[in-house]
């Protein structure tokens, strides 16, 4: 049985306790907001201290990992888009020949298939041509195109510095996969933790359930407040988790010097992504509590 604890939260709950002395969370005919208010009061009166913060911290992990994996995905895309092939023309080539070469490159089927950005000609005296390869073009294909361009009489040399960029892309891709794996793992841990907190909540109130059972409370009557309490607790934890995740991402962006990658890696939080993430985490937590918690409670009540 719970021992009464006078804490700052119980002092906050005092007005509700005096205004609404009856435990209406067990009244199935009471309005939902009345039941929720009663559960809220109950939570304030006997707050799950450590569990609440652990829950929030654990929920932070999948959120952070997911945000990071999103950041790495956009970095990978940006890196691939930043690849350029610079064709340095022979100084003896006239502008007419250079334009002819550009037209040939623009109509070359291999180049058209590989290139997404239009061919750009730099300078009034044409000296360089820039080609942006497609993001799905591999290093090998890029080498073939480079060799073809090098063999052309009008071309002095070709600078295809995309190889190291692609190596970076591989590193980023691996990091992204790690972040996704971490996100899934942390989500499982978070789901288990929510389940554990619900279970602990059940055990904490088992004397109360025995009394209620004696007075004719059905399983669903006992279960409803537990689920509502878990719902409220998860909501609070998610709010805290989103704040912590935001803080972690922002702090990491400032701690690690990414000034040279600013164009590539976004260091601010995508709000829509975070909101959708919180929604998914919330729904999964509720489902976890509903499916596992309900089963556990039914087993417990049947056993007693």
């Amino acid at each position: 049985m719970n021992s009464s604890r006078t804490t700052w939260v119980s002092r906050i709950a005092k007005p509700w306790q005096t205004k609404n002395p009856a435990p209406s969370r067990y009244n199935r005919n009471a309005r939902l907001h009345v039941q929720l208010k009663d559960c809220f009061t109950s939570l304030l009166r006997t707050p799950p201290k450590a569990a609440f913060f652990i829950c929030a911290l654990i929920l932070t992990l999948p959120a952070t990992f997911a945000i990071w994996s999103g950041s790495f995905a956009s970095a990978e895309k940006n890196l691939l888009q930043s690849r350029h092939i610079t064709v340095f023309l022979n100084p003896r080539v006239s502008n007419t020949d250079a334009k002819l070469l550009a037209t040939n490159l623009a109509t070359n089927k291999r180049i058209i298939a590989a290139v997404v950005a239009p061919l750009t000609i730099q300078g009034t005296e044409i000296s360089t041509l820039n080609i942006q390869p497609s993001t799905n073009l591999s290093n090998e294909d890029l080498s073939v195109i480079t060799r073809e361009l090098n063999s052309h009489s009008s071309v002095d040399f070709v600078d295809a510095d995309a190889t190291w960029l692609q190596s970076n892309v591989h590193a980023i891709e691996t990091t992204k996969k790690l972040a996704i794996a971490g996100s899934i793992l942390a989500s499982l841990v978070a789901a288990l933790l929510v389940f554990g907190i619900t279970r602990a909540d059940l055990m904490r109130h088992q004397a109360e359930y025995r009394v209620l059972n004696q007075m004719g409370a059905s399983h669903s009557t006992v279960l409803r407040p537990v689920l509502l309490r878990s719902l409220l607790l998860t909501s609070f934890a998610l709010c805290l988790a989103s704040l912590l995740a935001w803080g972690t991402v922002e702090t990491a962006a400032h701690l690690v010097d990414i000034s040279s990658y600013k164009r590539l890696i976004p260091n601010s939080l995508p709000v829509i992504q975070l909101l959708s993430l919180i929604l998914v985490a919330f729904i999964s937590s509720v489902l976890t509590v509903n499916l596992l918690g309900k089963k556990l409670l039914n087993l417990y009540l049947s056993a007693t």
Partner: protein, 257 residues
Amino acid sequence: MAPYSATIHRTAVLPPRDTGSPVVSRENQVIHFHKVQKNVDGRRLFTDLTLFLPKTSYTLLCGGTQSGKTTLLQMIMAYEKPDQGALRVDGIDLGDIPASRIPFLRRQIGLIAHTPVLLEDRSIVENISVPLQLAGFDQDVIQKRLAATLAQTGLHDEQHIKVNRLTAPTRQLVSAARATIHKPAIILADEPLEDMDAGTANLLAGMLNEANVAGATVLIASQSDESYVQRLANNCKTLTLSEGSIKQNEFEQNNLG
């Protein structure tokens, strides 16, 4: 005061089930043990126990230690099932009652246990109001009932005190208030007046008497009838549970006669 039958919430009413067990005047019966046998821990507790309590009856069940009084009350609450024989409570055969129907049965019964089991970290008013909440009453009705019960028990000034701070007699009083506030069809009490001061015992006995007058069937289990006969109502019948059966069953005798 509203009649008892009218105040039982609709969800608390169970349709009677016909299971073929012997029935004596079904309209009048509330509790009916018919040739019930029960073994507890390898010991035969009841041998052909037959007991019939009509509606609005007021019964004091006496018996020595280990005579099976508490088990009998537990069987009425559907915590225990008879090994043999039939047990019907308000027309429901408890021998094969589904688990899902037991809560509805218990909502029709008010139990005053020997050692009150209360919600320790809750106030008096919260404890007393639980049966009303479980029955699904409106908040207005709950507040009115609470006010009336608190006035009757004299607990109005202490209503927000947590029950873990109360003395044993006051806890028993809270238990009695909780057992009677929703006006159940049956009130079971296990040694309710034991270790009580005279004032509180009179108050509690008065509550039981009043509940009986209003239409509840009251069954009190006690080791001796000495402390009760002075306080309980005149229409209270005394039965003795000994060696696994009822030695004196006035109701059954009257009924058979």
